[in-house]
Point group: C2
Chain length 155, copies 2
Amino acid sequence: MNYVQFYYPEGFAHCYGCGRLNPEGHQFKTYWDPEKRESRTEFTPKPYHTAIPGFVYGGLLASLVDCHSTATGSAALKELESTPWDQGPYPRCVTASLEVQFLKPTPLGPTLVAVGRVLERSERKVVVGTEVYADGVLTVKGKAVVVRIPEGWGG
Amino acid sequence: MNYVQFYYPEGFAHCYGCGRLNPEGHQFKTYWDPEKRESRTEFTPKPYHTAIPGFVYGGLLASLVDCHSTATGSAALKELESTPWDQGPYPRCVTASLEVQFLKPTPLGPTLVAVGRVLERSERKVVVGTEVYADGVLTVKGKAVVVRIPEGWGG
């Protein structure tokens, strides 16, 4: 299964968080399950992505929630089109607002798994709820409002 | 004037966002004005810190708000101690929750200026409000709840 960011138009594929064409970035990859209507982004932080010793930096977790949410929004908007899911380009979203709750410290080492669900969707806007797990333990909850990039912004 | 992160205990100075001892990180530096009771973090994003072309990546802005808020909380808690402001160590905070509103796209290029104020403070918890400006234009608002790291967490 290809990932959502694979289908972003080339001009929108340079994001520091999830751009497949940004070699300096995190290159988050988000998979969308059209049956469960659930998204999934896995990422293994580097040793230097620390906050306090042994734990993952909150800004990285916020970044993960951010790109995971725009990708989830993208997949949710793609569903409204008549073209098949494996035919790009996908609509590209940007984040209007982001809320992150750090429920407990996230251990540095394990692969993190962000799981996202669509809470609301209109033609222009998607609200995405995300849970981030480390070793199967929920450590972070996120909520993001993402909006479709207006026509003519490039891409 | 030295910056807040200069006074973090060595064990807490490796944060990817603001650790003075993390060479891979952003090394955000936050200044606290004890008279205005206002904090200030300036940062110039790198060209690869992009989201969509020409604009700053939201996750980086969230990271800036995050570390800026923990530093502001640290300075606010330091005020409760009898030692002078230029004598470390400062209390170290972690983020419990983070809200970021992206009011408009933040242009990539100019130095960003985050300005923070203490909205609430107890012995253990500080609520910080942040505004981020690019070329003098407010583009991002943030609110973070930060809490004092419990004794014995290292540092």
